[in-house]
Symmetry: C2
Subunit: 314 residues, 2 copies
């Protein structure tokens, strides 16, 4: 049986690629450009060329390769078919079939946010937890749910879309998805900026944030300097995120929430704001969930897609 | 390998018992009384006696029995240990170990609401769906989550507690669990009565419900007679339940919600009120979830606990 696994994370501008051994040690790591022109028709052939060249460069036989894992930004069904991936220009694309044909080794495909959860469980902040929810607080909010060590992909590959869970009645602005009151509207980097601007408009209190460029980082930097307006913004952020996590915990009873994405760079101070509302809203039997930081950063997808192969092929 | 399976559902007043073949056909079905005195110490020996007598009556050998599945009203960990079951008088109880010792065949233990979901998937309203959420609208709200054919029990056996998912800010009355704004406060039989009383106090409109005994059944009977106040109550019920289901769907993307419990006797009219708010609040990728009625009634637990044995022992 093959000793090596390729983990591939297809993003809208670059494709991250990793070559791993079966223990998850990185043998090699590199990137190629994502060519999205013409409906993204070059993306999979480019990845296959890069993998085939790497196999040749390392003087591996095809039998040395256990498989290729591929994380894509879109819903994936059980047959490795992506129904749509807007950032790549893809309509329905039979990723598993195409990659297996172009590379001659087994391929497994997963949604990028889901797959990142597998990566964090395997080699990141979620190590030691077999039931966890990865929450990626970036421009939007992505998520991945793992129960008993296995990814919950859902009936149509849309499992873990926790950014679009309704958490707030009475919201008047619409989320990118068209709904009103999604978690993403408050807990993402853009959500924090929105909360900050609302708060600064509402109060006359002095704040280092006034006149500055408002970003999630600026807000949490100000929180660390004990700026009272920033603390109030963080309080609102934590109240909504803690409530959302409590809703999820009451349904899934995970052992841990693993928090990643750009916003998580603020560090454990986030948990000071998220934990108390979480405890207020959660069912008592689920209150012991831990909050931990993701540690793999942008590499979560290549680790997770490699793990997807390990979990499926072996 | 054994041909027969016992399915046991331990309730606070009676223990329901079923003897099944491996295709899920009922060979026999009976009940015994639950003796909760002295910390419920008689319950498991009583069940074991009843099973051992049945094995003797049927002239089976122990080898003919594949195992015993037991559904209990409390959280169950992966070792078949129940941490507490208030309705039975139990503190920590090693159910699996005790039953295997008393009966000499393998035993598997699950939470009753979770196990009922397995039963409905196997032989009830959830047949054909491998990802589903069972929602039991009774005095309270129970739940069970199945993803890819497997029960999600959670890290501490509290998975599927959807009755205690927070769905409403600003609620002033507390739920039995101590929190405010739980799904159970609006969607259960008692929740509907609460909504009905509030609505009747708020409006002067005539209604067949005025002066009558308010029950969930009375409300939905009045809905079927097109009583406008009852329709308004059902609208509020559906708005909150549909929103709660949408939250769950955005995280899990189930293929179906299977609705059981006493309230579900109202029938498909419930879905007329739940479906539109569900569609309003849910993430677009998860909108195709079906709503179906549970069909096994009080037998869901014995079917599900038998299925638990089939899934684990084979």
């Amino acid at each position: 049986m093959g000793k090596y696994i390729f983990g591939v994370d297809v993003g809208g501008t670059t494709v991250k690629m990793g070559l791993f051994d079966r223990d998850g040690m990185v043998v090699d790591k590199w990137e190629i450009t994502t060519r999205t022109e013409n409906g993204g028709e070059h993306i999979l052939p480019d990845i296959a060329d890069s993998i085939n060249s790497k196999i040749a460069e390392k003087q591996y036989l095809k039998e040395d390769v256990l498989g290729i894992g591929i994380a894509v930004p879109g819903p994936v069904n059980g047959l490795g078919i992506v129904s749509k991936a807007v950032n790549l220009g893809w309509k329905e694309t039979h990723v598993k079939e195409i990659m297996e044909r172009l590379c001659g080794v087994p391929a497994e495909v997963g949604n990028d946010a889901n797959v990142a959860a597998l990566g964090e469980m395997w080699k990141g902040g979620g190590q030691g937890y077999s039931s966890l929810v990865l929450v990626t607080l970036g421009t939007g909010i992505g998520g991945g749910v793992i129960a008993d060590g296995r990814l919950i992909t859902g009936a149509w590959g849309a499992g873990g879309e926790i950014g679009h869970m309704h958490v707030m009645d009475g919201e008047e602005e619409a989320c990118n998805c068209g709904c009103k009151g999604c978690l993403e509207q408050y807990g993402s980097a853009t959500g924090i900026v929105r909360l900050a601007k609302r708060m600064l408009d509402k109060t006359q209190e002095p704040s280092v944030l006034r006149g500055a460029e408002i970003t999630a980082k600026a807000v949490f930097d100000a929180v660390k300097e004990k700026d009272p307006v920033a603390q109030e913004i963080a309080g609102e952020f934590g109240e909504i995120l803690g409530k959302g996590f409590a809703m999820i915990a009451s349904v899934l009873n995970p052992a841990a929430f693993v928090i990643g994405g750009g916003v998580s760079k603020a560090g454990e101070v986030l948990f000071d704001y998220i934990r108390p509302p979480f405890e207020k809203y959660v069912f008592s039997g689920c209150v012991d969930a831990r909050f931990v930081l993701a540690t793999l950063g942008n590499d979560a997808g290549i680790y997770g897609s490699a793990k997807l192969v390990l979990d499926t092929v072996i």
